[in-house]
């Protein structure tokens, strides 16, 4: 009887069992924010298109990429073709801070192909590019504008010839280990069935829209083979440093879970702290809403000054008042915002260019938070913030605000936001923006008519994660700032309507509200 042999298991070499995947190296773009959008940078040896209408920043983007990567050993070749003359390109581009004249010539080489495009067919153009690529062994190749090459091709050659040219060009540049960028003025409709877009590994689409008085520039990574990228439209801005990109998910990526909140922060108004059960929980987002003149900014200043007194750095993003005016008003309450600014403990960010995006504002604030290690942030006010945004960005205000608050509180910052609302005498609103869900705590300030005076009351509407007083308290604004003056009113009902009814007995003589010193 034959014994059944146990099957012999072949040992598989470890290398074959788990072959290593090719690792695609990523190149820095040199554009702040863009590497984050691309989850690390540009895939090496990729064949890319930078498309968009004139004035979107295509050439500047390409220049930033080449100056960030080119070295004399692995230079960048910038082919110019019947577009902006190279002499003017150099004239304008050297104004940007990233432009390094020392790289010109050896690391960054400009080559004009205009005469070749005019005089030769696509084969001749490819021959010239090949010659230059083989002579320089570049790490990056840019053709600006490739659209001109295509136009020339379509003028005299078949579409098939164009497709073959692009295919051969892509093959050549990839084989020579070059990361390539073809720049073209394309409209969105042209992307369909276009052989260039089919061959491309990456497609950077830049747009520029004028909305009323502002210009909004956006970047979209429509295609990116071999790696992930943040989808959607990202705001870009062109400054003296070149392009800066603001990811649609700025602040959300790599966000830490909010730390366990146990510490309470004083608002600087002792009676308000009591109403808040001991103060604001650290990392909370507080919304203070009320009509004009009720002391929202004064409360915000108390909050900042109290933090500074305890050694906590703070930031105030102000939109309606200039820093000098803001500090002067604080001074009137005996609160010093000048010295902490000089000491680097406080930054008053005045943001009012009227074409901001929330992402840019958020970046400014996040940078400032990082810079001075801020623990407290005041946004004064949401109405001013919205006004500072370009009209196109106002549509996404709520979503953007959500991201901003989540990002900042996630970083452990306690946010004190003010919002102006009109007092209605039939209902009590918290805010126009329906953003109450974004905030942990809500403090409502309002006017009430009592005994022939327009007085001010304050109530804590909501406090996530803690109990709070339900009292409606009267307060005044004096030379000491916001001062709560009476215990809760039991003489009146319907205080929240602004038109209360007396239910208690009339006191023999009513003391008028103390006046602030002028």
């Amino acid at each position: 009887m034959k014994t059944k042999k146990a099957p012999v298991r072949r040992k598989t070499p470890a290398k074959l069992a788990a072959p290593e995947k090719v690792k695609i190296r990523q190149l820095p773009t040199g554009v702040r924010g863009l590497d984050e959008i691309m989850h690390g940078g540009l895939p090496e040896f990729s064949f890319n298109i930078i498309a968009g209408a004139p004035g979107c920043g295509k050439t500047t983007l390409a220049h930033q990429i080449i100056f960030a990567n080119a070295t004399p050993q692995k230079p960048a070749i910038y082919f110019t073709v019947l577009g902006e003359p190279a002499i003017k390109m150099l004239r304008y581009q050297q104004q940007y801070s990233f432009f390094d004249p020392a790289k010109l010539g050896k690391a960054v080489r400009f080559i004009n192909l205009s005469h070749v495009v005019l005089e030769k067919d696509l084969g001749g153009v490819l021959e010239e590019i090949t010659r230059e690529v083989q002579a320089s062994n570049p790490s990056i190749v840019v053709v600006d504008s490739f659209r001109t090459v295509v136009r020339k091709a379509l003028g005299g050659e078949s579409e098939l010839a164009l497709q073959a040219f692009i295919q051969r060009l892509a093959l050549l540049l990839t084989s020579w280990e070059a990361t390539t960028f073809l720049i073209g003025e394309y409209t969105e409709g042209e992307a369909r069935d276009n052989p260039i877009f089919t061959v491309a590994d990456g497609l950077f689409w830049l747009t520029q829209n004028a909305e009323r008085n502002s210009v909004v520039r956006k970047l979209q990574l429509i295609k990116m083979r071999g790696q992930d990228a943040v989808p959607g439209l990202h705001t870009i801005r062109i400054t003296g440093d070149g392009l800066q990109a603001f990811s649609r998910t700025l602040g959300m990526v790599g966000r830490k879970a909010r730390p366990a909140r146990t510490r309470r922060l004083s608002t600087g108004v002792p009676e308000l702290d009591k109403m808040l059960g001991g103060g604001i929980l650290e990392g909370d987002s507080v919304l203070v809403s009320g009509p004009s003149g009720t002391g929202k900014s004064a409360l915000a200043t108390h909050f900042l000054a109290e933090g500074l007194r305890k050694g906590e750095a703070g930031i105030a993003a102000i939109f309606e008042e200039r820093p000098a005016g803001y500090a002067a008003r604080a001074r009137a309450f005996g609160l010093d915002l000048d010295k902490p600014q000089k000491n680097g403990m406080l930054e008053l960010l005045y943001l009012r260019p009227l074409d901001l995006s929330v992402d840019e504002t958020m970046q400014e604030i996040l940078d400032a938070v990082k810079r001075i290690k801020a623990k407290r942030l005041v946004i004064d006010s949401l109405v001013g913030f919205e006004m500072a945004l370009a009209p196109g960005f106002r549509e996404d205000f709520r979503e953007s605000l959500y991201r901003m608050i989540a990002a900042l509180t996630g970083a452990g910052v306690t946010i004190f936001t003010t919002v102006e609302i009109e007092d209605s005498f039939t209902q009590m609103q918290f805010s126009h923006y329906t953003i109450s869900f974004l905030t942990d705590d809500i403090i409502r300030l309002r006017y009430v008519e009592i005994d022939g005076q327009l007085r001010k009351i304050m109530v804590v509407i909501k406090m996530r994660g803690g109990n709070h007083s339900k009292d409606i308290r009267e307060y005044v604004i004096t030379d000491e700032g916001v001062v709560l003056i009476h215990p809760r009113q039991t003489e009146y009902t319907r205080l929240t309507t602004g038109l209360p009814e007396r239910i208690g007995q009339l006191p023999p003589e009513l003391a008028p509200e103390p006046k602030a010193k002028t």
């Binding site: 002499i87 150099l90 004249p101 020392a102 080559i111 004009n112 205009s114």
Partner: protein, 128 residues
């Protein structure tokens, strides 16, 4: 400043290029040397335009420069014949004016830093 650059460069080029018996002047030599890198960067037409503008500007002070012809490839024609008919002083004036204006145009467009960088690429031993 471009004129000082030009004077300095002409002296350098005259010293390092072929002997004076050669039929090419220092200015011609400079234009020829610049034609290749500038033509590559700006395109032949771009270089030709700059040179033509420099010629017109320089001709105001040195009329004999008007007679020079710029070929399609950006090179000068007629320099040799002209020089033979001129005295040394007139030649030097013409060369200085032409190169000075060419460098001047480069400085206007791309600035002194890039212009100097470009000249150093062509004449690495040259010092201002």
């Amino acid at each position: 400043m471009p004129k000082d650059f030009a004077r300095c460069l002409l002296v350098h080029v005259a010293a390092v290029s072929k002997p004076a018996s050669d039929d090419t002047s220092a200015a011609f030599h400079i234009c020829e040397e610049l034609r290749v890198p500038l033509g590559k960067m700006l395109g032949v037409e771009g270089f030709r335009s700059l040179l033509a503008r420099a010629q017109v500007l320089a001709s105001v002070d040195v009329p004999w420069l008007k007679a020079l012809v710029i070929e399609q490839d950006g090179s000068f024609a007629g320099m040799k014949e002209r020089r033979l008919r001129l005295d040394a002083r007139a030649t030097v004036d013409g060369e200085l004016a032409l190169v000075g204006h060419l460098l001047g145009l480069l400085v206007v467009f791309i600035g002194p830093a890039l212009t100097l960088r470009l000249l150093h690429e062509v004449w690495p031993d040259w010092t201002v």
